[in-house]
């Protein structure tokens, strides 16, 4: 049996029927990682011994007849900017290459409590800054469909791991498409919940008003199970929303009759590859045939939202990354005095793109520049929010391309960080507005996966699952299998 191709739900059923043990599943995933990850390079750290020990523990609990969650005994991968107690968490940076967090992030603690098994930590662009994992201080994760292509980023490691059957699901963080874009490039589901739905405690900060924890999965049912576990208020996160969390499984209904879906014209006009656009039309036709109505809407400030996001994310990052000074944790490069210790540590510990964004962020926050850039960007954030509010007066959710093109070749965008950033135009406005957004696979173009994005109102994350589930039930285009998994 190809255990590593089954969904969480399927694995959970087998576990419940005692047809397979968690130890067998975990071992199967580890074997697969050992077989393919030296090429794919999705993982930064493997936690083999801990994973096997945990799997045994869960099997014992099951044998005793304890009541276990659907995630119990299921191997997960966690992006390496999310703290895992006792397990190295590097942010794919030299700065933190020896950092071992004392505690788990809240989301990880909740998943572990549910019995999920941490199998390893995945690669990303250093501190989440990039769109291809080419900015990782360690290595570049390959696309499981073709190793000459990027897996996307920042969360390319988690996306590739789930796509290639190295983990049943994975966690990541999204501040401007960092879950959705790699999910689209690797042909898996990537979900960025409403800002504040999932506690950020233990997610290493980059841009605090944008960072959001989310997940990668192979189908909607699995995503609902993961969201059920990680969403909900946490007293240790001051931006955590105090709202009730629904049972997301109830959104898994094969019915979109009467649902109004908006198609933002600015996204389709932003330079979408014509073959990708054709695939989206196919998805739209399916949804219409199921009784949804699709209408064009306008988000006029889309272009400016991307610019504003760039200013805000650099500004917040420059402030957040001030904590890496070589004193309390991380790398230290000695200097003759404290200032030179700081300057050398940071100069040598951070990579090229991280330093670029810190400099840019510091510049836009300088007294002389503050109003010219930062305040103006915050005003555009208001306009972007109003754009969405107006659209959501007419429609229940939005459907857009997740990315303008399918994955690009490794090296194609390096040396042009601004162009790489701007290619995330479809993902960024929803981040700036804190809206829930999901990318789901929809077929292939030239053997590479196409991603479709759905965006909903704040705390209407369930609408995304509902539309995604309806698509999943009525087409086989959402279930893709990479060439690497076939071979």
């Amino acid at each position: 049996m190809e255990l590593n191709r089954l969904t969480v739900q399927q694995l959970s059923e087998l576990l419940e029927k005692k047809e397979v043990s968690s130890l067998e599943i975990t071992q199967d995933y580890l074997n697969r990682i050992k077989r393919i990850d030296s090429d794919l390079q999705a993982f930064v750290t493997l936690t083999e011994a801990e994973a096997l020990a945990q799997a045994k523990l869960i099997d014992e609990k099951r044998a005793r007849g304890e009541d276990l969650s659907s995630l119990a005994g299921i191997p997960m991968a966690v992006q390496d900017n999310i703290c895992t107690g006792g397990v190295k968490t590097t942010c794919a940076s030299k700065m933190l290459n020896n950092y071992i967090p004392p505690t788990d992030a809240t989301a990880i603690a909740r998943l572990k409590k549910a019995g999920s098994i941490l199998i390893g930590k995945t690669n990303l662009d250093e501190f989440g800054m990039g769109s291809s994992t080419e900015n990782s201080a360690f290595f570049t994760t390959k696309n499981p469909y073709d190793s000459t292509y990027v897996a996307g980023g920042a969360g390319g490691g988690s996306a590739a791991a789930v796509a290639a059957g190295e983990a049943a699901f994975a966690l990541g963080s999204d501040l401007g498409g960092d879950i959705r874009q790699p999910a689209a490039f690797c042909g898996v589901i990537g979900f960025k919940p409403t800002f504040g739905y999932v506690p950020k405690t233990g997610l290493i900060s980059s841009a605090s008003s944008l960072d959001q924890l989310g997940a990668f999965s192979r189908d909607m049912t699995d995503m609902a199970l993961v969201l059920n576990t990680i969403c909900g208020h946490d007293a240790y996160d001051s931006t955590s929303a105090v709202v009730d969390v629904p049972d997301f499984r109830e959104s898994l209904i094969n019915d979109v009759k009467g649902l109004k879906i908006g198609l933002p014209k600015e996204y389709f006009a932003a330079g979408v590859d014509s073959k990708v656009a054709t695939k989206l039309q196919e998805a739209i036709k399916i949804l219409e045939s199921l009784g949804a109505s699709c209408v064009e809407v306008s988000l006029p400030h889309t272009k400016y939202a991307v610019t504003a996001h760039y200013i805000i994310s650099c500004a917040e990052a420059s402030s957040n990354l001030a904590r890496y000074d070589g004193v309390r944790f991380g790398q230290r490069v000695e200097g003759e005095d404290v200032l030179s210790l700081f300057m050398k540590t940071r100069g040598q510990g951070f990579g090229e793109e991280v330093k670029r964004r810190i400099l840019l962020g510091t510049h836009v926050l300088s007294t002389a520049q503050y109003d010219e850039y930062y305040t103006e960007a915050l005003k555009v954030r208001t306009l972007n929010k109003e754009d969405f509010a107006q659209a959501f007066e007419k429609v229940d959710c939005l459907l857009t391309p997740a990315t303008l093109t399918t994955a690009y070749k490794r090296g194609e965008m390096t040396g042009n960080p601004l162009a790489m950033y701007r290619s995330d135009v479809c993902a960024i406005p929803a981040s700036l507005a804190g809206l829930p957004a999901m990318s789901l696979p929809f077929g292939l173009v030239d053997q590479m996966p196409v991603g479709l994005q759905l965006i909903a109102r704040h705390f209407e994350d369930k609408t995304l699952l509902r539309v995604g589930y309806a698509l999943e039930q009525n087409t086989d285009q959402t279930r893709l299998k990479p060439s690497l998994a076939r071979g």
């Binding site: 071992i100 070589g326 004193v327 309390r328 944790f329 030179s340 400099l359 840019l360 306009l383």
Partner: protein, 94 residues
């Protein structure tokens, strides 16, 4: 938008980043490009728009003010590059 040599010196110091002359030259060019891009916001009339630092009506959420056990000292210092008698050690300051 021009970034002068003096600007780059100031940014390097304020950011606490020691940069090589090659890095300074490369970042100057790159920052200028990024700032030109950022200047596109000037196309908008934002005189009557209010800035939004957050998008959701979440105000700071505080937990109950009850004492809780802190982290063990051992854990606090476990990642420290240099520690002495329960303090983080740095080069001489005064």
């Amino acid at each position: 938008m021009n970034i002068t040599e003096k600007d780059m010196e100031r940014l390097s110091l304020q950011s606490r980043l020691e940069l090589t002359p090659e890095e300074k030259a490369a970042y100057t060019k790159s920052l200028e490009e990024s700032l030109d891009y950022m200047n596109s916001l000037k196309e908008l009339d934002l005189s009557t728009t209010e800035p939004a630092s957050v998008v959701l009506p979440i105000t700071n959420v505080f937990r109950e003010d009850v004492p809780q056990a802190g982290m063990d000292k051992e854990l606090v210092f476990a990642n420290a590059p240099e520690e002495e008698e329960g303090t983080f050690k740095v080069p001489r300051i005064i």
